[in-house]
Amino acid sequence: MFPEKAVPRKAQVWYTDFMVGVLIFSVVVITYFYYVEHTSYSDETLMSSLISEAKAVSNSFVTRGYPVDWTAANVTTVGLTDGDYRIDSSKLSDFNSWGYEERRGYLHTTKDYYFYLEYLNGTRFNELCEDPLAGCVAWNSSYNLAQNTRLLIYDSKVVRAVLYVYQQP
């Protein structure tokens, strides 16, 4: 009938409850991050990531890059065209002159890549990383491989710009 004198009716946190609460919260956080860190991507997730990367890199190819009239001396982002789908041979030449890692850096990707141009009759040219010894990682042995193809104009001809992005298992 009487209010309990030892526990006043006030909103309060007991020391023990507080400690328990902190402990539980810590367990939840640690568990979550442990799970996230130690659970490997599924193939589907990895593929999705590679497709996005392939899309981003090939989109970059279609642009003029930055600066728009970039040269090997001032390039920030690589683009291979004049902005109207026509490949700028000067830009392509600069791009080809770099090493594998340097190209990857200017493409702003951490993934491995394989790139070539192809006439509509199937004749390839400007094939980069055809030779793994040139610093490239062999692409055709990869299990995780994404490909994106864009249509461009090279020397008044329609060509396919084929890009593979991949990640070794």
Binding site: E4, V7, A11, Q12, V13, W14, D17, V20, G21, I24, V27, V28, T31, Y32, Y35, V36, E44, T45, M47, S48, I51, S52, A54, K55, S58, N59, V62, D84, Y85, R86, L120, N121, Q147, N148, T149, R150, L151, L152, I153, S156, K157, V158
Partner: protein, 645 residues
């Protein structure tokens, strides 16, 4: 819940406490939820490949030109004339075939230039305004994406090359009005029935080569009837005459207002003169405000470019005052108004006043040889010549004039007194108000035909931005105030729908007796902007400039004008508002037509609509220009590429 139940059972209920088991259960739920969300995340179906395919194909087709494809099929089309423009884009060429309803050729061409771009497992179609031109009809299994682009200048069933026309009137026949105002002037002093005092006012004006529809002369005069009849108005040395009896002047009356229609035969093409011969037996004869010629006419005119620089010499009327009998005197006076627009800059005004037969009055300054003016009495002999400029006090005077004096005032002398709006110059020789001390025949001399440089005039120069930057036709309309005589008269007017810009607006007050007249103008009623007030008594011109800023220049919007006579003398309903506006004399390119003749007819019709009812269409000369191959003739059409797999 279990722990909670236990605590209730222990009497420890409703406490804000955490319980270990509850918290653990909640933590498990949270962890499970996070794992579930993470594991159940479904990545977006990767469509980027197919998406860019449609976009790339569309852009390639719209970028690549026909000559670049360079295969035998296209060469054949070019050779046989199916392809006319080697520099056309592939998409443009497809559109051209489609617009010409050559669907078969469009399909073959589209197939030729697009096949091979996409791998065989892709289906695609090329579409113009929902018409499928070519399609690779693979079934849709997964995704379908579309990209679109606007193609200007083409439309189905319309020729690729159309015709547009513009028209410019090089000559028009317009119906307009001209007002030739007489400024108040006098005077024939006193006199007798046998030898009345006489004032002759001669006005010269120029009439362009026009066809007069109707003409009227408004006469607001102060004169005596006298005994014998005489000719009061003589036009062009007798081509038209109005006598005293024509005015039906009642015996004893002095002020008279009459309106007479004039035949076109009264006028000459070129220089015209009107002589007013006013006589009196007592007081002085003079012109009241409201005397003017109103001529409505048709004129063949050409649009003209409005100028920045304005320069005009405005001559005084020739005022000849002849002494009558029985101790009458002679002494001419005249008011010469001139107008400077509100927006005018670089204003320069010079004045020249020439007299003839002027008396150097030297009699002693007895009380009877004094006159009252600008607040005090003055000796007649000190003011044989007085000139006022926008003020009730003299701008200059002369106490020792020669017989034929010539007074010149430079722009620097007049500049401090010039205003934007209506300016008034008032000149008196040997008289002031009701006092006269001249004799014989005295003149304010002006003969712009035979002696322009020796005449009396005001020369006005100023800069003013043109109302419109292209060739225009000016039309003027004159409307009566109407109603009944009153010391306050109101009217309203609107610029017509055809008006592209405003030229100028004047109010012409008609009064028999005037003292201080004010004019107000506004876009609302009652008009609140006072645009003119007589600077001195009786200084009331027959034309008063209305600043354009007081008006709504939007066509069909009302503008209100008010005349107030401060003496409560009546302002007559024949007072007019005279407004000018500009009509543009051209129309630009209009709709596109498949035939040259249709484009020309359209241009003519549009031009006539612009010219409106003020210009006679039958007299318009049309100048046509046609253009072909304009890229924005029709359309735009929507070009679309759909790709699916």
């Amino acid at each position: 819940m279990m722990a909670g139940s236990g605590r209730i059972g222990n009497g420890m209920k409703r406490r804000a406490l955490f319980f270990t088991i509850d918290a653990l259960i909640a933590a498990m739920i949270m962890i499970a939820g996070l794992l579930l969300i993470t594991s159940s995340y479904v990545s977006e179906q990767p469509k980027s490949m197919i998406n860019t395919m449609s976009q790339d194909m569309l852009n390639i087709l719209s970028e690549l030109q026909v000559w670049e494809v360079n295969n035998s099929y296209i060469q054949e089309l070019y050779d046989n004339g199916s392809i006319k423009d080697w520099n056309n884009t592939l998409l443009g060429q497809i559109g051209e075939f489609w617009a010409n309803n050559n669907m078969s050729l469009a399909e073959d061409f589209a197939m030729n230039v697009s096949e091979g771009m996409l791998a065989l497992h892709f289906g695609y179609s090329i579409i113009m305004d929902n018409d499928t031109i070519y399609s690779r009809t693979n079934p849709v299994k997964n995704s379908l994406v579309t990209s679109k682009k606007l193609l200007t200048g083409i439309q189905k069933s319309k020729p690729i090359k159309g015709y547009i026309a513009k028209a410019r009137a090089t000559a028009v026949s317009k119906t307009t009005s001209l007002v030739v105002p007489f400024a108040p002037a006098g005077a024939g002093w006193k006199g007798s029935a046998a030898a009345p005092g006489v004032v002759q006012v001669i006005k010269y004006f120029e009439l362009p080569d026009v066809s007069i529809i109707n003409a009227s002369i408004y006469l607001s005069l102060h004169l005596d009837r006298g005994s014998p009849n005489w000719d009061i108005v003589t036009m062009n040395n007798g081509s038209c005459i109005l006598s005293r009896d024509n005015l039906n002047l009642a015996p004893g009356s002095e002020g008279v207002f009459r309106v007479f229609r004039l035949n076109s035969t009264c006028f000459n093409i070129g220089n015209n003169s009107i002589r007013l011969d006013l006589r009196n037996l007592g007081y002085n004869a003079h012109i009241h405000p409201g005397t003017f010629l109103l001529i409505n006419y048709n004129q063949t005119d050409a649009p003209e470019m409005l100028a920045w620089e304005h320069s005009e010499r405005l001559y005084f009327d020739n005022i000849n005052s002849t002494e009558g009998g029985t101790g009458a005197g002679a002494g001419p006076w005249v008011i010469r108004p001139f107008h400077i627009p509100t927006e005018a800059t670089n204003i320069s005004v010079s004045i020249q006043v020439a007299g003839r037969g002027i008396r150097d009055y030297t009699a002693s300054c007895t009380p009877s040889r004094r006159f009252w003016g600008w607040g005090s009495n003055h000796c007649m002999r000190d003011y044989d010549y007085i000139i006022f400029l926008n003020s009730g006090t003299p701008f200059d005077s002369d106490d020792n004039p020669v017989s034929s004096p010539l007074y010149s005032y430079s722009p620097s002398q007049t500049a401090p007194y010039i205003i934007n709006g209506t300016n008034l110059v008032a000149v008196y020789f040997n008289n002031y108000e009701d006092t006269v001390w001249g004799q014989g025949t005295e003149l304010v001399y002006s003969d712009p035909i035979n002696n322009a440089s020796g005449s009396s005039y005001v020369e006005v120069n100023y800069s003013s931005p043109p109302a419109l930057p292209y060739g225009v036709i000016e039309i003027r309309r004159v409307e009566d105030f109407g109603g009944v005589p009153n010391y306050t008269k109101d009217t309203s007017f609107s610029f017509p729908a055809e008006a592209e810009g405003v030229s100028s607006v004047f109010v012409h007050p008609v009064e028999q007796y005037s003292y201080i007249t004010e004019v107000y103008s506004d876009t609302g009623f009652p008009p609140g902007n006072r645009v003119f007030q007589s600077p001195a008594s009786r200084a009331v011109p027959s034309d008063i400039y209305v600043p354009l800023w007081t008006l709504d220049r939007t066509p069909l919007m009302p503008n209100y004008e008010r005349i107030v006579e401060a003496s409560w003398n009546e302002v007559l309903p024949n007072s007019t508002v005279d407004y000018g506006f500009y009509i543009k004399g051209f129309v630009g390119y209009g709709e596109v037509f498949a035939a040259w003749g249709e484009a020309v007819d359209d241009a003519v019709a549009r031009l006539q609509q612009v010219l409106g009812s003020y210009v006679n269409a039958s007299d318009i000369v049309i100048e046509n220009t046609t253009m072909a191959g304009v890229p924005s003739l029709w359309g735009p059409a929507v070009a679309e590429v759909r790709v699916w797999d």
